[in-house]
Symmetry: C2
Subunit: 655 residues, 2 copies
Amino acid sequence: MRDIEGLGLGRSRATGGFWAAKADLVSREMLRHQWEALNDEVPGAERSHAIENFRIAAGESKGGFHGTVFQDSDVAKWIEAASYSLARGPDPELEARVDEAIRLVAAAQRPDGYVDTYFLVAAPDKRWADLAWGHELYCAGHLIEAAVAHHASTGKGSLLGVARRLADCIDAAFGEGPGKIRAACGHPEIELALYRLWRATGEARYRDLASFFVRERGRDPGAFVDKEPLGFDIPKTKAFRADYFVGHAPARDLREAAGHAVRAMYFYSAMADECAETGDRELLDALRELWDSLERRRMYVTGGIGSQAQGERFTVDYDLPPDTAYAETCASVGSAFWASRMTAIDPDGRYADAVERAAYNGALSGVSLDGRKYFYVNPLESDPAVAAARADLEHVMPRRVAWLGCSCCPPNIARFIASFPAYAYGAGGDAAWVHQYVEGEASFELGGSRLSLSVSTDYPWFGEVRLRLGLAAPASFALKLRVPGWCGSFTCSVNGRPLGPAELPVERGYLGIRREWRGGDSVVLSLDMAPRFLRAHDSVAELAGRLAIQRGPLVYCFEEIDAGKGLHELELDPEGPVEAEFDADLMGGSVRIEASGYRVTRERRDGPGSPLYAPYAGDRERRRAVKLVAVPYHQWGNRAPGQEMRVWLRSARPL
Amino acid sequence: MRDIEGLGLGRSRATGGFWAAKADLVSREMLRHQWEALNDEVPGAERSHAIENFRIAAGESKGGFHGTVFQDSDVAKWIEAASYSLARGPDPELEARVDEAIRLVAAAQRPDGYVDTYFLVAAPDKRWADLAWGHELYCAGHLIEAAVAHHASTGKGSLLGVARRLADCIDAAFGEGPGKIRAACGHPEIELALYRLWRATGEARYRDLASFFVRERGRDPGAFVDKEPLGFDIPKTKAFRADYFVGHAPARDLREAAGHAVRAMYFYSAMADECAETGDRELLDALRELWDSLERRRMYVTGGIGSQAQGERFTVDYDLPPDTAYAETCASVGSAFWASRMTAIDPDGRYADAVERAAYNGALSGVSLDGRKYFYVNPLESDPAVAAARADLEHVMPRRVAWLGCSCCPPNIARFIASFPAYAYGAGGDAAWVHQYVEGEASFELGGSRLSLSVSTDYPWFGEVRLRLGLAAPASFALKLRVPGWCGSFTCSVNGRPLGPAELPVERGYLGIRREWRGGDSVVLSLDMAPRFLRAHDSVAELAGRLAIQRGPLVYCFEEIDAGKGLHELELDPEGPVEAEFDADLMGGSVRIEASGYRVTRERRDGPGSPLYAPYAGDRERRRAVKLVAVPYHQWGNRAPGQEMRVWLRSARPL
C-alpha cells in the first residue's frame, strides 16, 4: 500500500545551496575525521578501536575487543554514509577507504555468514545468547543497510555479498520453524534493514524474516526484561522495563511513543515498512496514533525526542524539560526515518514537516559547523556551570567533542546529511511530490513520462523556491508542493502567472497543481519566512509562560556570546519589533534575528551578599529594555563553546 | 566565647498553642507509632528491625542484622525524642518503653564499652574498619545525645552510663597518640555529641576528643574517597567526592556550604561548639562565611537544603530547582541545630530566623498532621504523575508513608519538635533573649536574678505575643525580642504603654528593651502578619518570574485540591487583593490565604490532539481571573495525598 515511492539518491541530488554545502562537509571533513577516529588516529579523542576490532576478528591483528557491544555499527554506518557521499561523484581516496573497510568486514566474516566482532572476539561461545543487550542483529542490520547503499552508489557487490550471507545466516537461525530461535533483538534495526535488502535483491525470504521480527516483538513482554547483559552495565531501574525495548506489546497494540527513543523510532520505521508491504490497516491505525503521540505530546520544538537521560527515553505526555532533555542526535535522525516512511503510506505534510523539523534543528545541532565535533544529546537549554555540578545534568555536554566512547551519533548524522536529498521527493498517485526544498535535480517516472525537476532555492534562509520542469512531451499530473505547517502564508506562480486563491488548494499539507505540464514550465513558490513567536501547549509545565522563535524551518536560540550570562533573566516581547537579516559572515552564512525584550536584574550587580528572597516591590526599574539576538539552534555552541544557551525565554507579555 | 547560653527543656516549656499541640502529637502519636515501627508492628510499613538488631546483638534473639548500617541511630533518636517528651510530664507507658530500649542497648554493649549492632552482628571483625561509610561513630554520637537528654529529663543514669563507657571506648581507640586511630567518621555527629557529653558530665576528655575529631576532618582530603563500603551500595560518581563527607578541607578553611547536606549541618554544628569552647576567631570567620553561603545562596525558601538527590547534597550557588529538590527533613532539622549554635556565638536574629524558617516549613512538612506518616524529601513542587515516570524525580514521594527503609527522618523530626522550646530562649550579656515565640514558661538566671517569663501567643497564626515577667525583686537587664526578618513592621507596648519609635531599637535582629523590670511587668509585641509576595534572587534561574507567598514565618503553597490540576498554568497577581483568614476547621486550625491571579489555559480543554507548539497570538481570553487559595507549606499533602503542589507560581506582573 505504498502511496508514494521515495526517490533514492540515484534520482535526487543536491547541486548547490544549503544541502550541497552540507554534503560537501560530509565528504571533505566528517568522513575523513570519522575514519581517523575509527582508526584511533584523532589525538585526544575517545578511543574507538572499531576498525581494529575487525582486524582482530579477521585474524590480521592481535588483541582484545574494545568498545560497546555495538561498536561494529559505527563502521557500518560510516560505510553507509561514505556510500551516499560516493553517489555524489568520484572520490578515489574515500572509495579506497570504503573498500578497505569492506575487505576487513569480509575477512572477519565466518564461513556460515556470521560476523560481529564483539561476539567473535570477546564472547565466542555466546552467539545469539544475549539478544536483549547484545545488539548482534542491530549490528547486522546496519551492515545490511550499508551494503544496500554501497551497492546502489557504486554498483559493487562486495559488501552486498557479505550482507546476503549474513542475512542468510540469520534466516537460518531465527524464525518460527522447528529448531529456530523465536525471538527479536533488544534494539530494533534488523527489521528495516531486511526490508531494504529485500527491495534491493528481490529475495522474498528477507522480507519474510523482517516481517517475522516485526511480529515477534512484544509477543512476550518479558523477553528482554531483567536479562543479565554480557558486555553492558545497566542499572536495574524502571527506566529499563519492557517498553524501553519497545517490547511491552505487539506492534499493532502500540499507541504511545514510548521507551528508548532510538529503539522506538527504528521499530516504528519497521512497522511502517511492514504496513507498506502488507497494507495492514490495523498497523496503519497504530502508526497514526503513535505519530499523534510523538508529534502532539512528546516532541521538543527542535524535533528532539526522549525527555530523560536514564534509559534515553520517553517519559509521559507533555513532559518536555528543556534542560534535562536527552534529545539524542540519533533519535532525531530516527524520527526522520520513521516520518519519511509514514509519508509513503499516509501522504500528509505533517510527516515531511517532522523530517524538516528534525533535520534543520535537533539533528544538525549534533555536529559542529566544521564537521569534526559532536553532541550526543541536544538540550534546549544549557548552563555548563550548573550542569557540571548536577547529577541530573551529567549527560549534558558543555561542548561538542571529537569522538565519544559510545559514538553512535557521529556516523548516524553523517549518513542522514549525506542522504538528505533522498527525503526530498516522492512519486505516486499520479503526482510528483516535493517534500523538502533542496537546491538540486530530481528525476521522476510518472506513468509513462519521465519528469526532471530542477530546483533553485536559498532555503532555509529565504522562502523562495524556483522549480523548472523537464519533460519530453506534455503530461498531465499533479505537482504536489509541501506547504510547511509553520508557514502562515505563501504565494505561487506558474510560468510567471500568480495563482489565485482558488488555484491554491492545500490538501493534507500539500499544494497540488494539477495541469498539463510541458517541458520548460516553471513554478515559483514563495513561503512567508517572517519570524514567529511560539508557545507550547498549556500542558507542558516546564514551558508555561515561555516563548521561542522560529523562522522558516529553523528554531532559534539565544546564546551567552550575544546576550551575556544569565539567560534566565531575559524576557522576550512578542509584540515588539523583530528583524531577520542574512549575514554571510555569521558562521559561514546565517540569518540573525534581533527581537525585543528585557533583562530583569538587580542583585546580580550587587554580588552574592544580596538576600536570597525578597518581597515583591513592583519596581519596574529592574527591567531594562534590550535587543535580543537569536541564531539558529542547530548552529549553537559554535562561536563560543561551553557557554549558556536557551531556546525558550520567558515572555514579557501574558500568553 | 558563648555569648548566649540556651535554656534547656528543664527551663523552657510549651504550655499551650502551636508547640504544645505539636509536643502532644509527639507524645500521643509519633513516639507510639515509631516504637511500633522500630518493633516491626506497623502493618504494611517498611521493615525496620532496629530493636530486633539490638536483641540479636544482646544474645536475646537469633537472626541476622537487617537495615542500613546506621539503623541503631533510629533507636537512639527515638530515645532522645522520648526523653524530651518525658520532660513535659510523666508518661509511665512511654517511660517503660524507653527503659526497655535502654536495657537492650546496655545488654548489647560489650564489656569494653563498644556497641553498634551492625558491626557486632554483621561484621564482627570489622570494628573501625569502614570509617568512611560504616557510621559507627555517628551511631555512637546519637546514643550519647540520647543519653544526655535522658539523664536531663529523667535523672536516670542508665543510658548515661552506657554512653560514657562507649565514649571511653572511642577515646581509647581514637586520637593522635601512639597506637591510636587518627581519623574521623564519614558522617559527623560524634563531635557534637561529645561536646554535649562533656557539658553534661564535666569530663574534659570528651571535649578534647570532640575537638580532635573536628580538627582531624579534612586533614587528609582523600580519607573518605573511593573507599569500598561494607554495608552500602554507593555509585561511583562525582556526587560522592571528598566534599560529600565535608572532608575536602580542614574546618577553618571551609567557606561554602557544600557536600551532603546533613553531614554539612552536623559538622558546622560541631565547629560552632568548638568555636564556643575555644573562642577561635578563624573558626568563627569560617562559620560566618559558611552561613552566608547557606542563607544567601543555597537555601530553599522553606528552609530546605540540598538541591539534588544524588549525594543528597548541595550543588552550586543559586541552583535551587523546586521540583528535583532534595531538601531532606533531616537537613532542615540539622540547619536548626547549626543556627541555634550560631546564635550562641554570634548573636544575630538571622540565625533564629533560620531556625524558625526551617521549623515551620521544611522540617514540619516532613511529618503528617496525624503524626504517623513521613516525607523524606520536601520538594517545593510536586506533580506525582510526572514524578512516577522520571528517574530524576524518583526520590520525590507522592505521599507521606508510615516508615522508610532508611528512616533517619522520622525520629529526627520527633526529637526536634519535642525539644523546640529549648530553641526559644537564651541568657547572656545581661539580657534575656527571646528567639522563638512559643506559648509557655521559661526561667532565666540573669546575674543574681531569677526571671520567669510567661508567654501567651497564637503564633504563628497571629502576630501578637504577650509576655509577663516574674521577678522576686526589680532588676535591670535587657529583654531582647527577635524581630523576624520577614516582619515589615511591628509595635510593642510595656505595661500597656506603646513604645515610641525611639524606644524600639532593633539591633542585629533583636528589639532590646533595657530597663529596670519588676515582677508582673507585661510586654506585648505585635508583629505585622500581612501576607507577603516573595521573589527569589535574580540568579536563581529556576525561579525567574515566579512568586511565593509567606505570612509570618509560614511559607504557603498551592494544592490541586484547591486549584485543580495543572498548577503551572496559574499566575499569581501580587497587586491583586489578598486575604488571610484563620479557619479552625482547616486541618485542625490553619490560616487560609486567598490571593488573586489567573489560570492560563485553552488546550487543556481541547484534549490531547491540540498542536504541541502554536504561534503567539496575544489572545487574552486564554487568561481567566481566578481566586487562588494557598495553605501553609508544612501542611501540604494532608487533605488529598498524591496530588500536585507548588510553592512558586508564575507572576502575573513583571518582577
